[in-house]
Subunit: 142 residues, 4 copies
């Protein structure tokens, strides 16, 4: 399994933020986690509200821990809210189950981490993260 280097994480974040500027989104915050759900790198754009690290982290953390991107977590929350609430119980309340949590995969399709983006609508957050992941040479599942 390939692992995400700091250099690659920087590239993902820079490309995600560049895409956000191109899309004229609100100030974005982006985190990259490794395959164990641990933080490699994070950046918050000027003007974002203070609490953006925990939200970006929660989107990416849930994706890695469950092996499910934000859209799939949201679908489960819509149909079984108590299930995602229980998931949050076992993960210490650290999961944010909405789009913007994107699985990061290598060329063989193995999950090697996740990206969490927050600041605009959940769908725009996810679109920017997907662009950043692809521009960095990885495959994303949003």
């Amino acid at each position: 399994m390939a692992s995400v280097t700091l250099n690659k994480a920087r590239t993902i974040i820079r490309k995600t933020l560049a895409k956000a500027r191109e899309m004229e989104l609100k100030p974005l915050s982006v985190v990259v986690l490794d395959a164990g759900g641990h933080v490699i790198a994070f950046e918050k754009e000027d003007g974002a509200s203070p609490g953006r690290f925990p939200i970006a982290h929660g989107k990416a953390y849930g994706a890695v821990m469950l092996g499910l991107p934000g859209s799939a977590q949201m679908a489960r929350a819509e149909s079984q809210a108590y299930f995602m609430a229980a998931v949050n119980g076992v993960f210490g309340g650290q999961v944010i189950p909405v789009p913007g949590g994107v699985l990061l995969k290598d060329k063989r399709g193995a999950v090697i981490g996740a990206v969490g983006a927050t600041g605009d609508t959940s769908d725009n957050d996810a679109a920017a993260a997907m662009a950043g992941i692809e521009l960095a040479g990885y495959t994303g599942e949003a």
Copy 2:
């Protein structure tokens, strides 16, 4: 970015409470937080129930952390209850997503803190806080 001094926080609280008396509301409690979500000042009127600090704080804290006033948080909770529940997970259960959490802005529109009011209906809480903020020379977003 301007910061809220203790003198300004006192003025906001006094004017909010004066407005509450003019509106003949139930006893009100009012907190002022800075741009990082930290408490500058708080007052609870005689006759208010004991647990008013955490509620006032939760309204203002959520507003600062998310950059969203109480009304916007409530709308999100109405449409996606599991999202606001998850947000509360990452913020340690410290967010009360209803009106009465009002963003405090300087003349350029930058968020420099938040006011949290509680004791009457959520809408009345918000109206008193808005009046206090404006009488202190700031702009509020409720």
Copy 3:
């Protein structure tokens, strides 16, 4: 049992801060709790570090909950650290067992609340709070 009104709490805080300025202390933060350990009022002077509410609160909260001022809690912590750690377990980690937590008593000696002060040395914090309490017409036990 007399109870502490908001007006009285304001007086205690103002007198404590005035004493702190007279003593040329670092910026102080002062909380007043009622006999049930609930917040009536709080103020943080400009220039104090952000985390002062939880510390001021922890000093006063421990005093009310245990019926012991900060100095007595500190003596217990010095002789039985595991006891104060266990106390913090049952009170959710909300107790700061050092001087600056001062019991507030009425003329008959009944505990009607507590004052918590923080920002300078623990002993100076306690001295300023004692002065504020006495200037407001109450008796303190530091």
Copy 4:
């Protein structure tokens, strides 16, 4: 009070990591927090152990919340272990009281944030962070 932009935070991190390579330290992890204790940016060098974000964060968070650098927190922990344990209670267990938590100050001496570094000895972590802060044009207090 100046605030730390993302560009400045990036510079601090890059310069701290460059200094760490020059000093031949183990892989370092570095976080930059703003004046409210919120994360602006974080990077973890390849080869660092997974749990480095919470440690870097804990060093910087304690510095901002208390207005005390890691060395002063450590001195307090050495003389009054129960006090720093209690402080951790009120801050949710988020404080790591050792060197490597460095206050970030502007030209007037106002605290505008903190840097947390971890990975080598606490003293080497602090030395690298101090170099990064100074190369970025700020003043540090370690």
